[in-house]
């Protein structure tokens, strides 16, 4: 990643993962179960115990926001560990709820083993939060951050509940769900990290806004992945989940009824029929989905940067946070 700085390459993430390994060791989890949780955490990189570089940058978010708010980057290590562990567990459950195929690193272990690993990751996160409570650097802030952590995940589950019940959300529902799931998750990292350094309500609100906007941007970029087709001409189909992605939700909202029905029909078989996939993409293009998506990317990026600016962040951490946002959502 272009924005990586020499003093943060890998080392910070490694330090967080060393703490996670210590939690597993101290928790007396059995080695074969730890190996399964490790695979869930690192995906295909379990043997190296490394996340891919695109993912590892996000593990810095709580620490960078803590530093940006006037604290020490390392005060947020256990918060970052809990954040990653909880999210990984939630990601497994999300895949099973959506009946997605589990990652190849699960081999033939099946959803039962995956669900149990998710449970292990949740309790590992709880242990990480206990470690945060016992840190000497932030004894007053820790209880509030831990409560905020659990409230945030409760809100994310509420968003997930509605998402599961709505295969074809309206645009308004899409934005509410994006804010409740991805927005709340990233806001937790940013506001939670900052809270370890400051109790100023205005600053904390700005860090919340910053994280929420970043989370929504992450959701939009993830949605666009659903629209991307394989390069191979033989298999240019679309992914089954595309119906909840922003370009499709927008197109369904604005297209006249006959075209909306046409889009539904195309999407119904676009996961196995390249011709129908092409027809679906043409309908989406003709609806103005690119202009709408680019306008929303512009809006959420600029709102994120404005919220961060309002906090008057510590210079070095502020620059890194700005870089993370502009790398995620470049001006096209």
């Amino acid at each position: 990643m272009a924005f990586l700085r020499p003093h943060l390459t890998g080392t910070q993430s490694d330090y967080i993962f060393t703490k996670i390994e210590a939690i597993w060791k101290g928790g007396e989890a059995w080695p074969d179960f730890v190996e399964v949780m490790r695979r869930a955490l690192y995906g295909g990189q379990a043997e190296n115990r490394q996340l891919n570089s695109r993912s590892s940058q996000w593990t810095w978010l709580p620490g960078l926001c803590c530093q940006a708010a006037g604290g020490n980057f390392y005060w947020a290590d256990y918060l970052a560990a809990a954040w990653i562990l909880f999210y990984t567990g939630a990601g497994i459950m999300d895949s099973i709820e959506d009946q997605d195929r589990l990652g190849v690193h699960w081999g033939d272990m099946g959803p039962g083993v995956a669900l149990n690993a998710a449970s292990g990751l949740f309790f590992s996160a709880a242990l990480a939060l206990e470690c945060l409570r016992s840190e000497e650097d932030n004894p007053l802030a820790a209880p509030e951050v831990i409560r905020y952590f659990h409230q945030s995940f409760l809100r994310m589950c509420s968003g997930q509940h509605r998402d599961l019940l709505r295969p074809e959300p309206t645009l308004e529902q899409y934005w509410k769900t994006a804010a409740a799931k991805s927005g709340v998750f990233f806001a937790l990292a940013c506001r939670g990290g900052a809270r370890l350094a400051t109790d100023c309500p205005q600053k904390l609100d700005n860090y919340y806004q910053f994280g929420e906007q970043v989370g929504i941007l992450v959701q939009i970029m993830d949605d666009l992945e659903e629209v991307r087709r394989p390069d191979s001409e033989l298999h240019k189909v679309l992914k089954p989940d595309i119906g909840r992605s922003l370009p499709v939700v927008y197109a369904r909202e604005v297209l006249p009824e006959p075209e909306r029905q046409g889009l539904r029909a195309c999407l119904g078989s676009a996961w196995q029929d390249p011709v129908r996939a092409r027809q679906a993409l043409d309908l989406i293009d003709h609806s103005g989905a690119v202009l709408y998506t680019l306008t929303e990317i512009e809006a959420h990026r600029e709102r994120a940067l404005a919220a961060l600016q309002e906090t008057s962040p510590q210079q070095e951490a502020g620059k890194l946070l700005v870089s993370m946002v502009t790398e995620l959502a470049p001006r096209l």
């Binding site: 993912s55 308004e172 970029m221 087709r229 293009d285």
Partner: protein, 70 residues
Amino acid sequence: MALAQVVYHISRDADFATRMRSDPESTLAAKGWRLTKEELAFLMTVLKRETFDKVDVEHLAKAVATPWRF
């Protein structure tokens, strides 16, 4: 979802798109539509870029899509 409706009309109505580029406030008022100042500013920023109307959604995805998982 006024922004979505405005964007749709820009994409389907060339005259409306031309008027939006030159005088957005009056063009919206003539239709009885209203965007917030912020929405209009973001829309105009993208409209003024030459790249957006040369890109389809598949190319946009290839350019910026980022699957999200730790």
